[in-house]
Symmetry: C2
Subunit: 650 residues, 2 copies
């Protein structure tokens, strides 16, 4: 520990950078950043094994800044260490004392909160919506364990932020999975945005809670380098995961910024001089260091002894009979029935055999989502997340950032628990594959608390082509039969980004032969009818088939398009509308904002196209069967027939 004083000049310079850049930006959170200045200097400057010139290096230790608003402290450390930012290695730029003055500007990669999408490769995940970082760190830790990588993960968490329940979900997850390569560091500066933190979040209570959750807890003074290093070194060798509770001072080093009204406020230009003088006074108290950054930062850990060979294959056409060999479901399948959720489970298991990157998480419903098929075959790549969906999604971000392809399954309804985390995953830009089962009103007896009804509107809302390369921010699949579900599972891997697969509880008949091809954004014409075309997805395709048949009896010619993927292509709507009347009827088993809106948005720009929509416009309740519920909410076969008849006769 004799070289700790080497860090003193770095700490002081970082403090200067923090006030300089936030004052230049006219916004930001200097006081939070200053409370972390010693801890971040210790981590980035001396403890973490990483390469400031190569933040992409997959062997390096990682830092997750859960309290994202403190990010100026990391930018400040990057200046001192000559670290680079950039979307690609070739175009990377060194962060300098000048470039940080463009903090938060539109042409700077130094966003107000960590944003890897704009080039901050030092971070694996966007943070700023609080409480998510420890989960992401856990995902990174899990991947390292799986890969037998020596890399270690550090998460910096605010005390006020630890009020978020997700932090405690993450704590359970870290302990359950024995992730002693993850170190949780709580920054107890005692102040939130609008007030001091509650006694429930002070250092003493936090330490008690963390101990009860199973951590080894080390309480330190967060501005004392010796005790910071003592704790980090203990954490590095501890069998039990370590939580460090660091008592810190918000606005450390700058008198004005210590006031509790100073959250999220920069100093004015006028106040800056005085602040720099305050910092100078701190400098005088310290013994000077001499080492350069190159001398301080330790070398990268050696790469894993055995790098797992990536077997990457693709699924062929499904032979469900063979896939179900020995499975109690086989008899029912032989009657021609299979649910989309089961087909997904089988596909995932088969994909697991040909692609070692695949891992899976589920929130205690793996026997409902059928992630179970994968879990049984690959227990070492299955991580039970228990009933804690938020942590599950953010942990998957960490796994994805470490090169895994995580499939995250629960009921569609319960994924809505993690919509904020899902949006952060989208911003982070990693490929998390979400699977929501038991979707829609057709769930049946369990009632509305278990039905995914808002999920279509939410998942459909993300930009269709954010980067101008034709790849949507969220690839969305809503298959109507087992073949489609099986093949869409492969498509979720073919699309490198975020995906959502919506599956159904019901065992349904097959609509497609096993060699049918599917594509992202695709739709299938199942019937052509000159009087009207019904557009549907999932269960409603089966109902629509009955409608088409019934109306054919009356001489009304109704077409049917299975819209199994979003963003829906304009061409599909144009094609449907080009047949005969140009009348379209969208039917869906969720609230509004889904298929009907997608079709209407395209149709509203077309001539000779008339769109009607039917969706769940009434609150569902329990009912014995899917059809009972559809009748109840006005979406039964008879309702759709009546509506179709009315449209064709108008």
């Amino acid at each position: 520990m004799e070289n700790i004083s080497e860090l003193n000049p770095m700490v002081i310079s970082m403090a200067r950078h923090i006030v300089n850049m936030t004052t230049a930006a006219g916004s930001g959170h200097p006081s939070s950043a200053l409370s972390l200045v010693h801890i971040v200097a210790a981590l980035m400057g001396k403890h973490m094994r990483w390469d400031p010139k190569d933040p992409w290096n997959p062997v390096a230790d990682r830092l997750v800044l859960s309290e994202g608003h403190s990010v100026p402290v990391v930018y400040a450390a990057m200046v001192e260490l000559g670290a680079v930012v950039g979307r690609e290695k070739d175009s990377a730029q060194v962060v300098t004392a000048e470039s940080i003055l463009k903090l938060r500007e539109i042409d700077s990669p130094l966003d107000g909160h960590p944003n890897p999408r704009v080039g901050l490769a030092f971070f694996d995940s966007a943070t700023g919506s609080l409480g998510q970082g420890l989960s992401t760190a856990a995902g990174l830790g899990l991947a390292a364990k799986l890969d037998k990588s020596p890399r270690r993960i550090f998460a910096l968490i605010g005390d006020g932020e630890s009020r978020e329940g997700q932090i405690w979900e993450a704590c359970d997850f870290v302990i359950d999975h024995k992730l002693n390569n993850v170190t949780a560091i709580f920054n107890c500066n005692g102040q939130g945005q609008s007030d001091y933190v509650s006694i429930q979040q002070n250092a003493a209570t936090l330490a008690k809670k963390l101990r009860a959750f199973g951590f080894r807890v080390l309480t330190i003074i967060g501005h004392d380098l010796a005790s910071i290093f003592w704790a980090l070194e203990e954490a590095a060798v501890s069998e039990l995961p370590v939580a460090i509770v660091a008592k810190t001072t918000k606005g450390w080093g700058v008198k004005e910024l210590k006031k509790h009204t100073y959250h999220g406020k920069p100093l004015t230009q006028k106040q800056l001089g005085k602040a720099l003088k305050n910092i100078e006074r701190e400098a005088q108290k310290l013994s000077p260091g001499e080492a350069t950054a190159e001398q301080m930062v330790p070398p990268l850990p050696s790469a894993p002894a055995v790098t797992p060979e990536l077997s990457v294959g693709r699924l062929g056409d499904p032979n469900f009979g063979a896939l179900l060999e020995g499975d109690s479901y086989l008899a029912k399948f032989e009657k021609g029935l299979m649910s989309t959720r089961r087909a997904y489970g089988l596909a995932l298991r088969e994909l697991g055999k040909v692609d070692e990157r695949i891992v899976a998480l589920d929130a205690d419903v793996k026997n409902s989502t059928f992630t179970e098929y994968f879990a049984k075959e690959f227990p070492e790549r299955y991580f039970e997340a228990r009933i804690a969906e938020q942590n599950m999604v953010s942990a998957a971000v960490g796994l994805a950032a470490a090169g895994k392809i995580p499939f995250v399954s629960s009921f569609a309804k319960f994924l809505s628990r993690a919509f904020d985390q899902i949006e952060m995953a989208v911003i982070s830009g990693h490929g998390v594959k979400l699977v929501g089962s038991h979707a829609g009103a057709t769930l049946g007896p369990d009632g509305p608390s278990q039905m995914g009804l808002t999920d279509v509107a939410f998942f459909r809302s993300f930009p269709a082509d954010p980067d101008g390369n034709g790849e949507p921010a969220m690839a969305f699949f809503f298959p109507s039969d087992a073949v489609a579900a099986y093949k869409c599972t492969q498509l979720m891997i073919d699309h490198p980004g975020m995906c959502y697969l919506r599956t159904l509880r019901s065992d349904l008949g097959l609509l497609y032969s096993t060699d049918t091809e599917f594509e992202l954004g695709g739709a299938k014409t199942l019937a052509v009818g000159t009087d009207l075309t019904i557009m549907a997805s999932g269960y409603m395709v089966h109902l629509a088939k009955q409608v088409v048949a019934a109306l054919a009896q009356e001489g009304i010619k109704v077409g049917l398009m299975d819209c199994y993927s979003f963003p829906l292509k304009a061409q599909s709507v144009i094609e449907a509308a080009s047949v005969g009347s140009g009348k379209l009827l969208c039917i869906e088993d969720n609230y509004t904002g889904g298929l009907g809106s997608a079709v209407a948005e395209i149709a509203a720009g077309l001539d000779n196209c008339h769109v009607d929509c039917m969706y769940v416009g009434k609150f569902p309740k329990s009912g014995k069967t899917a059809d009972d519920i559809l009748d109840y909410v006005g979406l039964g076969t008879q309702h759709v027939i009546a509506k179709a008849r009315q449209i064709t006769q108008s």
Copy 2:
């Protein structure tokens, strides 16, 4: 305690009802329900002061069944106590041993999970999406404290369910607000759906955690009536909030149902006889009771000594100058600028003066959302929820159920943390008033982790008229100026149900005179133009005004409609489309699924109406000003001008 044995016959009958009703339904969770049979018998049969014939009584003690899937145990108790269900008192029906056999049927109020909307007045909130019940109980407890009501609240929480972080948010909230009228009972039956619970959720670990969070913890055997009553009586007089950790047996009394593969599975008709024999054997072990339900259930507590007089008044037109007297913002307002968030804060304060039912919660950002104005004036009606949005929303459901009008504010982005809880609140049918500030890409320097971008799609997705009375499931207001924001705050009270107000960070000019009237679903025509009409909300109305002016210079006549409320009325679109060309351009500062979709859905059913949409189709980042960001995502004034020009020329 000499009369505890009175309950024995009730316990046995309840067990019979549980297996009978779930076997009749062919689905449900008998094993979970049986694990609670003694605790619920003790609560509903002897400890809780309530009236089985009048579950609406506002003085009665309340039970929140957080683990909603166990609800057959409550239906079983209702049979024994002759309790009633029904949407109204006049049409209430007694629950009988016959009526429970219609469990989960479409024409029965006995849903698979508690659903007050279908007539289960015994419950205040829909549960079934796990982890929310303790928060709702806390809201009910808070209201009781505020009203000086002696009512007590009991929350039943599953052990597996306690993995949800929201449970721990609720624990902090209960301790912070000293809610010793709330008793949390953890049902530790050791089994989840797909497996045994983690060691992190066993009774011993739970007790440790709860103690660390600040509870007095009583661990008991949940099938021993004596220890159940001991714990309940201790809780009734404890200064400190009490958590009861009850060790129970899943499937109590029925051998088959004790198997850990039996979660959520009913017995077959064939298995039923054996199960009833198992229960009979349990009965023989017990001493018989003699009392009737009327003799067991204690009388209602006496009503509060002083019922607060409800002053219910309405806001007049705002005089912002007067409202800002002594406020440091006054000088800026005098330059003609005010944000919609500030106008909301001022309106809430003024409403607080005329309507005593109003309470407010905020998640440590009250100085950003401006709930602060209310908090300073009415500290006793302001509840700081800290950084825990899920608990905040569910606690508001409890407050609303107890007759309060809770305003729940945070950044729009952070409310997405609670989308599941918001959907459960919608199902529950109470009027929670949600306010999301700093919405949209115009937030500026803080970056995408702080911007509400999916909120419009989500909040717009709820049914427009679920009950056929013209009242939407979610009244949505997105005002463009301070006058509109002020008046929409009043409209949120006028609409008894769920509401969402979307406010902006930016200080903007006023568009409306203070005597302008606004209405739910309304829109205002700000300019008439025969070449094109721009439809916009919020910030984009201001940008559109510049576009209209710029294009007027070129001789292009562009109209402007401020769509400040959803669901948008079809008439507004028809009106806009009826002008001249029938061309509409929707511009919005969020992802898709919002205004553009709303207009397109209506327009796709109209002739001679052509809709184009511009929205945030690219990931935003930090930028110094709102306009920097809008330019970056392709929504700047010049982009809209170019698009409008192109449309009018096509």
